[in-house]
């Protein structure tokens, strides 16, 4: 059984990811802001993190930077899902994020997300 942690402040977004990824071999857990997400990642050591960018308390870029800097969590793959481009016009690519914060996510996807693409991306990153 693989565990995927979804960090997003929007319940609908969490439900969407759960509907796409949860199955007999994948358990989903969630956190509703960046601080709780970091805590959950450190305590539960999930096999993968699905991370929103625009969140209260701690934004997704900060969470990503902290996850990748901490040896205990640096090897956990991170998929960033964001509506940032649509809501603010400030779109990043995966490598832009790497240059911006010095830590690159394993995948970076702008919302709206195609379910098949998300499922395939996660399957690739957790070795299925």
């Amino acid at each position: 059984m693989k565990t995927v942690l979804v960090v997003d402040d929007e319940a609908d977004a969490v439900e969407f990811v759960k509907a796409v990824l949860e199955d007999d071999e994948t358990k989903l857990v969630s956190a509703r802001d960046g601080e709780l997400g970091l805590k959950a990642a450190r305590e539960q050591r999930p096999d993968l993190v699905v991370l929103d960018v625009q969140m209260p308390k701690k934004d997704g870029f900060t969470v990503l930077a902290e996850l990748k800097q901490d040896p205990a969590t640096s090897s956990i793959p991170v998929v960033m899902l964001t509506a940032m481009g649509a809501t603010s016009g400030v779109a990043f690519s995966k490598s832009d994020v790497g240059e911006f914060i010095g830590a690159e996510p394993d995948a970076y996807v702008e919302k709206p997300v195609d379910p098949a693409t998300l499922k395939a991306t996660v399957a690739r990153l957790i070795g299925r």
């Binding site: 960018v53 625009q54 400030v90 779109a91």
Partner: protein, 313 residues
């Protein structure tokens, strides 16, 4: 972000913002604004003496076709008009042109047309330190003359906010003095120790890594820190340098440019909108980079909904 080329590369891809330039009759300001427009980073409204703006544009070799010019020959009124454009939402960024910093800041701080918020405004130099392959934030070397402890705490948080805007999400903050030991005869060392203790007690929100006092060498050089047996997460690796007063900050920043040949951005933080505040003698490149920094500030603050932190007392 480790260098200012990345800054320009990122803002070129993001929405173009509007800059109101106060007292725009300056060759390097006009060259910078022209370059920003050409790179689709920012569009400017030039406020100042129309006649002198045209003269300066001619000597800079800049075509003003399509530029918006607001004719206001009086420099103080030009600052007020440009600040009003920003405070009323008709421009995103205010930029200082050919005017003394103190006259410019009076306009920025003006209660009616200015850009005051409830929090303290402070200046941050963002230096691209090539030798270390990183950005270093120096504050406050241009606005607050002799800040007390409470003001230093606010200045520190403004710099943390700007570091976040530049992608340095967990900055290490060094509070500088002349020596690394607390010495009651040197008040800067006492303030530095207090700020470090305040961070340890989580009085800063967001929590940040702060240590001090440091002499400059053991804040920025691991070898120097090790030689003096100074440990901790900040020693030798500082991202933000909080200086004791305006003289120290100004000299440190300008020495990075004139002795170290590093590139520099100058921005005010804590106003309603980003303010580009560079020296009149700065190059057009430095002014362009500062415009790019202000555009990044607008964009990242909106994209990440970033706000300046608070101090708990």
């Amino acid at each position: 972000m480790k260098n200012l080329d990345t800054l320009v590369k990122l803002v070129e891809k993001h929405p173009v913002r509007k800059v109101a330039v106060a007292v725009a009759q300056d060759t390097s300001v006009l060259a910078a604004v022209d370059e920003a427009r050409g790179r689709r980073i920012a569009e400017a409204t030039l406020v100042g003496s129309k006649e002198e703006i045209h003269e300066a544009a001619d000597s800079a070799g800049v075509a003003l076709d399509g530029s918006t010019i607001v004719d206001e020959p009086d420099p103080v009124r030009a600052v007020a008009a440009a600040a009003k454009m920003v405070s009323s939402g008709n421009a995103d960024i205010l930029m200082k042109g050919y005017i003394h910093t103190d006259d410019f800041l009076r306009g920025v701080l003006d209660k009616e047309s200015g850009l005051r918020t409830g929090s303290i405004m402070s200046h941050v130099f963002v230096a691209e330190v090539g030798e270390q392959n990183k950005l270093v934030f120096v504050t406050d070397g241009a606005m607050n003359i002799a800040p007390d402890l409470e003001q230093k705490a606010a200045i520190l948080l403004n710099a943390v906010h700007l570091a976040n805007v530049f992608g340095v999400m967990m900055p290490k903050v060094a509070v500088l003095a002349a020596v690394e030991l607390v010495n009651p005869a040197m008040p800067a060392t006492v303030d530095a120790a207090c700020l470090a203790k305040m961070a340890e007690r989580r009085q800063f929100v967001p929590a940040c890594t702060v240590d001090g006092p440091f002499a400059l060498d053991n804040a920025v050089s691991l070898a120097a820190a090790e030689h003096k047996k100074i440990g901790g997460p900040v020693a030798g690796q500082a991202d933000i340098l909080v200086v004791p007063n305006i003289e120290a900050g100004n000299m440190l920043a300008k020495s990075l440019v004139y002795f170290g040949h590093n590139r520099l951005v100058g921005l005010l933080v804590g106003a309603k909108a980003p303010v580009v505040l560079t020296s009149r003698a700065d190059t057009a490149e430095s002014k362009l980079l500062s415009i790019a920094g202000a555009v990044l500030m607008v964009n990242i603050r909106r994209a990440l909904q970033l706000k300046i932190g608070k101090v708990h007392y």
